[in-house]
Amino acid sequence: MTGVRAFALIIFATFVLISGARADDKGKHAEAFIDSLGAKAIELVSNQTMSAEEKRAGFSKLLTDGFDMDWIGQFVLGRNWNLATPEQRTEYLSLFEQIIVFTYSKRFKDYSGQQVRVTGHELSNRQYIFVMSQIYDPARAGTAINVTWRLLPKDDSYKIVDVVIEGVSMGITQRNEYNSVIQSNGGKISALIEAMRANLEKLRAN
Protein backbone atom coordinates (compact mmCIF):
# COMPACT_ATOMS: atom_id res chain seq x y z
CA MET A 1 0.00 0.00 0.00
CA THR A 2 2.67 2.48 0.98
CA GLY A 3 4.51 1.69 -2.24
CA VAL A 4 1.47 2.58 -4.28
CA ARG A 5 0.98 5.78 -2.32
CA ALA A 6 4.61 6.77 -2.77
CA PHE A 7 4.37 6.04 -6.46
CA ALA A 8 1.23 8.15 -6.80
CA LEU A 9 2.97 10.95 -4.93
CA ILE A 10 5.92 10.84 -7.31
CA ILE A 11 3.63 10.91 -10.34
CA PHE A 12 1.73 13.79 -8.82
CA ALA A 13 4.90 15.74 -7.97
CA THR A 14 6.29 15.19 -11.47
CA PHE A 15 3.04 16.36 -12.98
CA VAL A 16 3.03 19.50 -10.87
CA LEU A 17 6.65 20.22 -11.75
CA ILE A 18 6.07 19.70 -15.46
CA SER A 19 2.95 21.80 -15.59
CA GLY A 20 4.70 24.44 -13.51
CA ALA A 21 7.63 24.52 -15.89
CA ARG A 22 5.32 24.61 -18.89
CA ALA A 23 3.36 27.45 -17.42
CA ASP A 24 6.56 29.37 -16.86
CA ASP A 25 7.69 28.73 -20.45
CA LYS A 26 4.36 30.02 -21.64
CA GLY A 27 4.86 33.26 -19.74
CA LYS A 28 8.44 33.68 -20.95
CA HIS A 29 7.36 33.12 -24.55
CA ALA A 30 4.57 35.64 -24.14
CA GLU A 31 7.07 38.16 -22.74
CA ALA A 32 9.32 37.62 -25.76
CA PHE A 33 6.31 38.06 -28.02
CA ILE A 34 5.51 41.49 -26.55
CA ASP A 35 9.18 42.42 -26.51
CA SER A 36 9.57 41.77 -30.24
CA LEU A 37 6.25 43.40 -31.12
CA GLY A 38 7.29 46.51 -29.18
CA ALA A 39 10.62 46.61 -31.00
CA LYS A 40 8.87 46.32 -34.37
CA ALA A 41 6.42 49.08 -33.47
CA ILE A 42 9.21 51.44 -32.38
CA GLU A 43 11.15 50.67 -35.55
CA LEU A 44 8.07 51.57 -37.56
CA VAL A 45 7.15 54.83 -35.83
CA SER A 46 10.75 56.09 -35.65
CA ASN A 47 11.38 55.33 -39.34
CA GLN A 48 12.31 58.57 -41.10
CA THR A 49 12.15 57.40 -44.70
CA MET A 50 8.63 55.94 -44.86
CA SER A 51 5.67 58.07 -45.88
CA ALA A 52 2.63 58.40 -43.62
CA GLU A 53 0.74 56.05 -45.92
CA GLU A 54 3.46 53.40 -45.78
CA LYS A 55 3.60 53.67 -42.02
CA ARG A 56 -0.13 53.22 -41.78
CA ALA A 57 0.06 50.11 -43.95
CA GLY A 58 2.91 48.80 -41.80
CA PHE A 59 0.92 49.46 -38.65
CA SER A 60 -2.11 47.70 -40.10
CA LYS A 61 0.02 44.60 -40.70
CA LEU A 62 1.52 44.78 -37.22
CA LEU A 63 -1.97 45.06 -35.80
CA THR A 64 -3.34 41.99 -37.59
CA ASP A 65 -0.18 40.00 -36.80
CA GLY A 66 -0.08 40.84 -33.10
CA PHE A 67 -3.74 41.29 -32.22
CA ASP A 68 -6.75 39.05 -32.65
CA MET A 69 -8.83 41.79 -34.22
CA ASP A 70 -11.93 39.65 -34.80
CA TRP A 71 -11.87 38.50 -31.19
CA ILE A 72 -11.50 42.08 -29.93
CA GLY A 73 -14.23 43.31 -32.26
CA GLN A 74 -16.60 40.67 -30.93
CA PHE A 75 -15.69 41.44 -27.35
CA VAL A 76 -16.30 45.15 -27.89
CA LEU A 77 -19.74 44.51 -29.36
CA GLY A 78 -20.60 42.27 -26.39
CA ARG A 79 -23.99 40.59 -26.43
CA ASN A 80 -24.99 42.69 -29.46
CA TRP A 81 -22.72 40.45 -31.54
CA ASN A 82 -25.31 37.69 -31.28
CA LEU A 83 -28.05 40.04 -32.43
CA ALA A 84 -26.15 41.36 -35.45
CA THR A 85 -26.83 40.03 -38.96
CA PRO A 86 -23.91 38.46 -40.90
CA GLU A 87 -23.71 41.59 -43.10
CA GLN A 88 -23.62 43.84 -40.04
CA ARG A 89 -20.89 41.73 -38.48
CA THR A 90 -18.70 41.94 -41.57
CA GLU A 91 -19.09 45.67 -41.96
CA TYR A 92 -18.65 46.28 -38.24
CA LEU A 93 -15.38 44.31 -38.06
CA SER A 94 -14.01 46.09 -41.09
CA LEU A 95 -14.93 49.54 -39.72
CA PHE A 96 -13.60 48.63 -36.28
CA GLU A 97 -10.17 47.70 -37.62
CA GLN A 98 -9.91 50.75 -39.88
CA ILE A 99 -10.94 53.11 -37.07
CA ILE A 100 -8.17 51.71 -34.88
CA VAL A 101 -5.60 51.99 -37.66
CA PHE A 102 -6.49 55.62 -38.40
CA THR A 103 -6.88 56.66 -34.75
CA TYR A 104 -3.44 55.43 -33.74
CA SER A 105 -1.47 56.11 -36.91
CA LYS A 106 -2.28 59.80 -36.79
CA ARG A 107 -0.42 59.93 -33.45
CA PHE A 108 2.83 58.54 -34.81
CA LYS A 109 4.11 62.06 -35.36
CA ASP A 110 4.04 62.60 -31.58
CA TYR A 111 6.62 59.86 -31.06
CA SER A 112 9.71 61.20 -29.30
CA GLY A 113 11.95 58.28 -28.39
CA GLN A 114 9.78 56.32 -25.91
CA GLN A 115 10.85 52.75 -25.23
CA VAL A 116 9.07 49.57 -24.11
CA ARG A 117 10.40 47.53 -21.20
CA VAL A 118 8.80 44.17 -20.40
CA THR A 119 8.72 43.75 -16.62
CA GLY A 120 7.09 40.35 -16.08
CA HIS A 121 4.08 38.16 -16.61
CA GLU A 122 1.21 36.55 -14.78
CA LEU A 123 -1.05 33.67 -15.74
CA SER A 124 -4.76 33.92 -15.13
CA ASN A 125 -6.59 30.85 -13.90
CA ARG A 126 -8.27 30.81 -17.30
CA GLN A 127 -6.45 30.79 -20.64
CA TYR A 128 -5.29 34.40 -20.46
CA ILE A 129 -1.66 35.41 -20.08
CA PHE A 130 -0.76 38.89 -18.87
CA VAL A 131 2.49 40.55 -19.85
CA MET A 132 3.40 43.60 -17.80
CA SER A 133 5.44 46.34 -19.38
CA GLN A 134 6.38 49.97 -19.01
CA ILE A 135 6.54 52.61 -21.71
CA TYR A 136 9.08 55.20 -20.70
CA ASP A 137 11.00 58.12 -22.06
CA PRO A 138 14.75 57.60 -21.46
CA ALA A 139 15.23 61.37 -21.61
CA ARG A 140 12.72 62.16 -18.83
CA ALA A 141 12.74 60.44 -15.45
CA GLY A 142 9.48 59.59 -13.70
CA THR A 143 7.41 59.33 -16.87
CA ALA A 144 6.95 55.55 -17.02
CA ILE A 145 3.43 54.40 -17.93
CA ASN A 146 2.31 50.91 -16.89
CA VAL A 147 0.88 48.90 -19.77
CA THR A 148 -0.45 45.37 -19.34
CA TRP A 149 -1.10 43.16 -22.36
CA ARG A 150 -3.74 40.44 -22.24
CA LEU A 151 -2.88 37.53 -24.51
CA LEU A 152 -4.46 34.31 -25.65
CA PRO A 153 -2.48 31.42 -27.09
CA LYS A 154 -3.21 30.96 -30.78
CA ASP A 155 -1.72 28.29 -33.02
CA ASP A 156 1.97 28.21 -32.07
CA SER A 157 2.09 31.79 -30.89
CA TYR A 158 -0.03 34.40 -29.15
CA LYS A 159 -2.50 37.09 -29.99
CA ILE A 160 -3.15 40.22 -27.95
CA VAL A 161 -6.80 40.61 -26.99
CA ASP A 162 -6.57 43.68 -24.74
CA VAL A 163 -4.26 46.49 -23.69
CA VAL A 164 -4.58 47.98 -20.21
CA ILE A 165 -2.97 51.41 -19.77
CA GLU A 166 -2.64 52.52 -16.14
CA GLY A 167 -5.63 50.42 -15.15
CA VAL A 168 -7.80 51.43 -18.10
CA SER A 169 -8.64 48.63 -20.50
CA MET A 170 -8.95 49.73 -24.12
CA GLY A 171 -11.35 46.85 -24.81
CA ILE A 172 -13.67 47.67 -21.91
CA THR A 173 -13.64 51.38 -22.71
CA GLN A 174 -14.55 50.80 -26.35
CA ARG A 175 -17.14 48.20 -25.34
CA ASN A 176 -18.80 50.61 -22.91
CA GLU A 177 -18.81 53.39 -25.48
CA TYR A 178 -20.27 51.32 -28.33
CA ASN A 179 -22.82 49.77 -26.02
CA SER A 180 -23.93 53.21 -24.94
CA VAL A 181 -24.36 54.28 -28.59
CA ILE A 182 -26.51 51.23 -29.28
CA GLN A 183 -28.53 51.70 -26.10
CA SER A 184 -29.27 55.36 -26.67
CA ASN A 185 -30.49 54.47 -30.17
CA GLY A 186 -33.10 52.01 -29.00
CA GLY A 187 -30.85 48.96 -29.23
CA LYS A 188 -30.22 49.36 -32.96
CA ILE A 189 -26.85 48.03 -34.12
CA SER A 190 -27.35 49.83 -37.43
CA ALA A 191 -27.12 53.13 -35.52
CA LEU A 192 -23.67 52.19 -34.22
CA ILE A 193 -22.48 51.18 -37.68
CA GLU A 194 -23.78 54.48 -39.04
CA ALA A 195 -21.88 56.39 -36.34
CA MET A 196 -18.73 54.36 -37.00
CA ARG A 197 -18.89 55.19 -40.71
CA ALA A 198 -19.09 58.90 -39.90
CA ASN A 199 -16.28 58.51 -37.37
CA LEU A 200 -14.00 56.83 -39.90
CA GLU A 201 -14.73 59.48 -42.51
CA LYS A 202 -13.77 62.19 -40.02
CA LEU A 203 -10.54 60.34 -39.14
CA ARG A 204 -9.64 59.94 -42.81
CA ALA A 205 -10.22 63.63 -43.43
CA ASN A 206 -7.66 64.91 -40.96
Binding site: A23, R79, A141, V164, G167, T173, S180, V181
Partner: protein
Protein backbone atom coordinates in the same frame (compact mmCIF):
# COMPACT_ATOMS: atom_id res chain seq x y z
CA UNK B 1 7.88 55.70 11.69
CA UNK B 2 8.52 58.58 14.10
CA UNK B 3 7.98 60.95 11.22
CA UNK B 4 4.63 59.30 10.59
CA UNK B 5 3.57 59.76 14.22
CA UNK B 6 4.73 63.34 14.22
CA UNK B 7 2.81 64.15 11.03
CA UNK B 8 -0.26 62.41 12.34
CA UNK B 9 -0.23 64.54 15.47
CA UNK B 10 0.16 67.63 13.32
CA UNK B 11 -2.92 66.59 11.38
CA UNK B 12 -4.82 66.03 14.62
CA UNK B 13 -3.74 69.33 16.08
CA UNK B 14 -4.76 71.17 12.93
CA UNK B 15 -8.13 69.50 12.93
CA UNK B 16 -8.75 70.25 16.60
CA UNK B 17 -8.15 73.95 16.10
CA UNK B 18 -11.85 74.56 15.38
CA UNK B 19 -14.35 74.47 18.22
CA UNK B 20 -16.41 71.32 18.91
CA UNK B 21 -19.73 72.85 17.81
CA UNK B 22 -18.41 73.78 14.38
CA UNK B 23 -16.93 70.33 14.01
CA UNK B 24 -20.21 68.70 15.03
CA UNK B 25 -22.11 70.78 12.49
CA UNK B 26 -19.62 69.83 9.82
CA UNK B 27 -19.96 66.17 10.55
CA UNK B 28 -23.75 66.28 10.66
CA UNK B 29 -23.72 67.95 7.25
CA UNK B 30 -21.80 64.93 6.00
CA UNK B 31 -24.40 62.63 7.60
CA UNK B 32 -27.28 63.23 5.14
CA UNK B 33 -24.82 62.91 2.28
CA UNK B 34 -23.76 59.50 3.55
CA UNK B 35 -27.39 58.41 3.90
CA UNK B 36 -28.07 59.60 0.36
CA UNK B 37 -25.02 57.69 -0.77
CA UNK B 38 -26.36 54.45 0.62
CA UNK B 39 -29.74 54.99 -1.01
CA UNK B 40 -28.28 55.77 -4.42
CA UNK B 41 -25.95 52.84 -3.98
CA UNK B 42 -28.96 50.59 -3.45
CA UNK B 43 -30.59 52.00 -6.60
CA UNK B 44 -27.49 51.29 -8.61
CA UNK B 45 -27.26 47.68 -7.52
CA UNK B 46 -30.99 47.14 -8.06
CA UNK B 47 -30.53 47.78 -11.78
CA UNK B 48 -27.57 45.45 -12.03
CA UNK B 49 -29.74 42.52 -13.13
CA UNK B 50 -30.30 44.41 -16.38
CA UNK B 51 -28.33 43.64 -19.51
CA UNK B 52 -25.64 46.29 -19.23
CA UNK B 53 -24.95 47.87 -15.87
CA UNK B 54 -23.22 51.15 -16.46
CA UNK B 55 -23.75 52.22 -12.83
CA UNK B 56 -25.47 55.38 -14.05
CA UNK B 57 -29.13 55.51 -12.95
CA UNK B 58 -29.41 59.28 -13.45
CA UNK B 59 -27.73 59.35 -16.85
CA UNK B 60 -30.01 62.00 -18.43
CA UNK B 61 -29.21 64.49 -15.65
CA UNK B 62 -25.52 63.64 -15.76
CA UNK B 63 -25.44 64.16 -19.52
CA UNK B 64 -26.87 67.67 -19.17
CA UNK B 65 -24.25 68.60 -16.55
CA UNK B 66 -21.57 67.00 -18.72
CA UNK B 67 -22.65 69.14 -21.69
CA UNK B 68 -22.37 72.28 -19.56
CA UNK B 69 -18.95 71.21 -18.23
CA UNK B 70 -17.84 70.51 -21.79
CA UNK B 71 -18.82 74.01 -22.92
CA UNK B 72 -16.97 75.52 -19.96
CA UNK B 73 -13.94 73.41 -20.85
CA UNK B 74 -13.94 74.54 -24.47
CA UNK B 75 -14.62 78.19 -23.71
CA UNK B 76 -12.59 78.74 -20.54
CA UNK B 77 -10.43 75.88 -19.27
CA UNK B 78 -8.99 74.72 -22.58
CA UNK B 79 -7.84 78.18 -23.79
CA UNK B 80 -6.43 79.08 -20.37
CA UNK B 81 -4.61 75.73 -20.17
CA UNK B 82 -3.23 76.23 -23.66
CA UNK B 83 -1.74 79.60 -22.73
CA UNK B 84 -0.39 78.10 -19.50
CA UNK B 85 1.14 75.14 -21.35
CA UNK B 86 2.68 77.24 -24.14
CA UNK B 87 3.55 80.36 -22.15
CA UNK B 88 4.95 78.99 -18.91
CA UNK B 89 8.29 77.14 -19.05
CA UNK B 90 8.35 73.42 -18.15
CA UNK B 91 10.38 73.76 -14.93
CA UNK B 92 7.94 76.30 -13.49
CA UNK B 93 4.93 74.14 -14.36
CA UNK B 94 6.70 71.18 -12.74
CA UNK B 95 7.30 73.26 -9.61
CA UNK B 96 3.62 74.26 -9.50
CA UNK B 97 2.51 70.64 -9.82
CA UNK B 98 4.98 69.50 -7.16
CA UNK B 99 3.73 72.18 -4.79
CA UNK B 100 0.07 71.21 -5.35
CA UNK B 101 0.96 67.58 -4.70
CA UNK B 102 2.91 68.49 -1.59
CA UNK B 103 -0.12 70.34 -0.24
CA UNK B 104 -2.07 67.08 -0.50
CA UNK B 105 0.35 65.21 1.79
CA UNK B 106 -1.71 65.50 5.02
CA UNK B 107 -4.86 64.20 3.33
CA UNK B 108 -2.94 61.37 1.67
CA UNK B 109 -1.32 60.49 5.01
CA UNK B 110 -4.65 60.48 6.84
CA UNK B 111 -6.08 58.14 4.19
CA UNK B 112 -3.01 55.89 4.28
CA UNK B 113 -3.62 55.51 8.01
CA UNK B 114 -7.36 54.92 7.59
CA UNK B 115 -6.55 52.24 4.99
CA UNK B 116 -4.04 50.63 7.34
CA UNK B 117 -1.36 51.09 4.69
CA UNK B 118 1.60 51.75 6.98
CA UNK B 119 4.15 51.28 4.22
CA UNK B 120 2.67 54.09 2.18
CA UNK B 121 2.12 56.22 5.27
CA UNK B 122 5.87 56.11 5.77
CA UNK B 123 6.47 57.12 2.14
CA UNK B 124 3.96 59.96 2.39
CA UNK B 125 5.52 61.30 5.60
CA UNK B 126 9.04 61.03 4.25
CA UNK B 127 7.99 62.80 1.06
CA UNK B 128 6.38 65.59 3.06
CA UNK B 129 9.52 66.13 5.12
CA UNK B 130 12.10 65.71 2.34
CA UNK B 131 10.27 67.85 -0.21
CA UNK B 132 9.20 70.26 2.53
CA UNK B 133 12.73 71.67 2.59
CA UNK B 134 11.74 73.70 -0.48
CA UNK B 135 8.00 73.87 0.29
CA UNK B 136 7.37 71.00 -2.07
CA UNK B 137 8.34 72.75 -5.30
CA UNK B 138 11.07 70.19 -6.00
CA UNK B 139 10.12 66.51 -5.88
CA UNK B 140 13.44 65.18 -4.61
CA UNK B 141 11.75 62.15 -3.01
CA UNK B 142 10.68 60.81 -6.42
CA UNK B 143 14.33 60.39 -7.40
CA UNK B 144 15.09 58.23 -4.35
CA UNK B 145 12.36 55.64 -4.92
CA UNK B 146 9.44 57.39 -3.22
CA UNK B 147 7.16 58.32 -6.10
CA UNK B 148 3.97 60.31 -5.66
CA UNK B 149 0.78 58.33 -5.25
CA UNK B 150 -2.55 59.86 -4.39
CA UNK B 151 -4.87 58.44 -1.77
CA UNK B 152 -8.24 59.97 -0.96
CA UNK B 153 -11.25 59.15 1.17
CA UNK B 154 -13.14 57.73 -1.81
CA UNK B 155 -10.36 55.15 -2.14
CA UNK B 156 -10.38 54.57 1.62
CA UNK B 157 -14.09 53.75 1.47
CA UNK B 158 -13.37 51.48 -1.51
CA UNK B 159 -10.62 49.66 0.39
CA UNK B 160 -13.13 49.00 3.18
CA UNK B 161 -15.60 47.49 0.70
CA UNK B 162 -17.92 50.42 0.01
CA UNK B 163 -19.11 50.13 -3.58
CA UNK B 164 -18.92 53.12 -5.91
CA UNK B 165 -22.66 53.81 -5.95
CA UNK B 166 -24.32 55.81 -8.69
CA UNK B 167 -22.13 57.58 -11.21
CA UNK B 168 -22.36 61.35 -10.82
CA UNK B 169 -21.29 64.19 -13.06
CA UNK B 170 -20.52 67.10 -10.77
CA UNK B 171 -20.83 70.68 -12.01
CA UNK B 172 -17.31 72.09 -12.61
CA UNK B 173 -15.64 69.21 -10.77
CA UNK B 174 -16.33 66.57 -13.44
CA UNK B 175 -16.86 62.81 -13.21
CA UNK B 176 -17.43 61.22 -9.80
CA UNK B 177 -19.74 58.81 -8.04
CA UNK B 178 -21.58 58.84 -4.75
CA UNK B 179 -18.71 57.23 -2.84
CA UNK B 180 -16.08 59.57 -4.26
CA UNK B 181 -18.28 62.64 -3.74
CA UNK B 182 -18.55 61.77 -0.06
CA UNK B 183 -14.78 61.32 -0.21
CA UNK B 184 -14.31 64.82 -1.63
CA UNK B 185 -16.31 66.33 1.23
CA UNK B 186 -14.50 64.33 3.91
CA UNK B 187 -11.08 65.12 2.42
CA UNK B 188 -11.98 68.80 2.37
CA UNK B 189 -12.71 68.77 6.10
CA UNK B 190 -9.74 66.68 7.18
CA UNK B 191 -7.34 68.82 5.17
CA UNK B 192 -5.41 71.11 7.56
CA UNK B 193 -4.83 73.55 4.71
CA UNK B 194 -8.59 74.18 4.68
CA UNK B 195 -8.13 75.90 8.05
CA UNK B 196 -4.91 77.74 7.24
CA UNK B 197 -4.93 81.45 8.04
CA UNK B 198 -7.97 83.58 8.73
CA UNK B 199 -11.28 83.70 6.89
CA UNK B 200 -10.02 86.28 4.40
CA UNK B 201 -7.26 83.93 3.39
CA UNK B 202 -9.06 80.58 3.47
CA UNK B 203 -11.56 81.13 0.68
CA UNK B 204 -9.28 82.68 -1.97
CA UNK B 205 -6.59 80.13 -1.15
CA UNK B 206 -8.99 77.21 -1.43
CA UNK B 207 -10.52 78.39 -4.70
CA UNK B 208 -7.16 79.42 -6.18
CA UNK B 209 -5.66 76.07 -5.33
CA UNK B 210 -8.47 74.18 -7.05
CA UNK B 211 -8.42 76.41 -10.13
CA UNK B 212 -4.66 75.95 -10.56
CA UNK B 213 -5.16 72.21 -10.06
CA UNK B 214 -7.72 72.12 -12.89
CA UNK B 215 -5.49 74.14 -15.24
CA UNK B 216 -2.47 71.97 -14.40
CA UNK B 217 -4.42 68.78 -15.10
CA UNK B 218 -5.89 70.09 -18.37
CA UNK B 219 -2.51 71.41 -19.58
CA UNK B 220 -0.68 68.20 -18.67
CA UNK B 221 -3.20 66.07 -20.58
CA UNK B 222 -3.92 68.63 -23.28
CA UNK B 223 -3.53 66.53 -26.43
CA UNK B 224 -4.80 63.37 -24.78
CA UNK B 225 -8.10 64.99 -23.79
CA UNK B 226 -8.46 66.73 -27.16
CA UNK B 227 -7.87 63.44 -29.01
CA UNK B 228 -10.25 61.58 -26.74
CA UNK B 229 -12.93 64.18 -27.38
CA UNK B 230 -12.52 64.35 -31.15
CA UNK B 231 -12.17 60.58 -31.69
CA UNK B 232 -15.10 59.57 -29.54
CA UNK B 233 -18.49 58.58 -30.87
CA UNK B 234 -20.00 58.97 -27.41
CA UNK B 235 -17.61 61.16 -25.40
CA UNK B 236 -19.77 61.02 -22.28
CA UNK B 237 -19.83 57.21 -22.22
CA UNK B 238 -16.10 57.04 -22.86
CA UNK B 239 -15.27 59.37 -19.97
CA UNK B 240 -17.62 57.42 -17.70
CA UNK B 241 -15.93 54.13 -18.57
CA UNK B 242 -12.44 55.54 -18.09
CA UNK B 243 -13.34 57.20 -14.78
CA UNK B 244 -14.86 54.03 -13.33
CA UNK B 245 -11.88 51.92 -14.38
CA UNK B 246 -9.35 54.43 -13.09
CA UNK B 247 -11.02 54.60 -9.70
CA UNK B 248 -11.13 50.82 -9.46
CA UNK B 249 -7.42 50.71 -10.27
CA UNK B 250 -6.74 53.47 -7.72
CA UNK B 251 -8.51 51.53 -4.95
CA UNK B 252 -6.31 48.51 -5.82
CA UNK B 253 -3.25 50.78 -5.98
CA UNK B 254 -2.79 49.96 -9.65
CA UNK B 255 -2.67 46.19 -9.26
CA UNK B 256 -4.71 44.65 -12.04
CA UNK B 257 -6.76 41.72 -10.83
CA UNK B 258 -5.87 38.73 -12.98
CA UNK B 259 -8.22 36.11 -11.60
CA UNK B 260 -11.83 35.44 -12.36
CA UNK B 261 -12.84 35.81 -8.73
CA UNK B 262 -12.45 39.57 -8.90
CA UNK B 263 -15.74 41.06 -9.99
CA UNK B 264 -14.60 43.59 -12.55
CA UNK B 265 -12.88 43.55 -15.90
CA UNK B 266 -11.61 39.99 -15.58
CA UNK B 267 -15.19 38.84 -15.26
CA UNK B 268 -16.18 40.42 -18.55
CA UNK B 269 -13.20 38.84 -20.28
CA UNK B 270 -13.81 35.45 -18.74
CA UNK B 271 -17.39 35.45 -19.95
CA UNK B 272 -16.02 36.02 -23.46
CA UNK B 273 -14.18 32.71 -23.53
CA UNK B 274 -16.33 30.23 -25.48
CA UNK B 275 -16.03 27.23 -23.17
CA UNK B 276 -14.77 27.18 -19.62
CA UNK B 277 -11.72 24.99 -19.39
CA UNK B 278 -12.49 21.63 -17.86
CA UNK B 279 -10.35 20.29 -15.05
CA UNK B 280 -8.00 22.02 -12.66
CA UNK B 281 -7.14 25.63 -13.29
CA UNK B 282 -3.65 26.32 -14.52
CA UNK B 283 -1.38 27.07 -11.62
CA UNK B 284 0.26 30.46 -11.88
CA UNK B 285 3.97 30.30 -11.30
CA UNK B 286 4.96 33.89 -10.69
CA UNK B 287 7.08 35.96 -12.94
Amino acid sequence: MQAAERKKSVVERETKRTDPVTRFLRWTSVGPLLAGALMLGACASATSDGAVDNGDPIEPVNRVIFAVNDVLDQVVLRPVSYVYKEGVPDPIRDAVRNFLRWLKSPVILANDVMQGDWEHAKVTSARFVVNGALFGIVDAADGVGMPYREEDFGQTLGVHGVSEGAYLMLPLLGPSNVRDTVGLVVDYFIDPFTYLGDRNFQQPFGIGRRVVQAVDFRAENFDRIDDLRSDAIDFYAKIRSIYRQQRKAAVNNGVIPTDATTPDLSEEFDRQLPTPEAGAPLKASGG
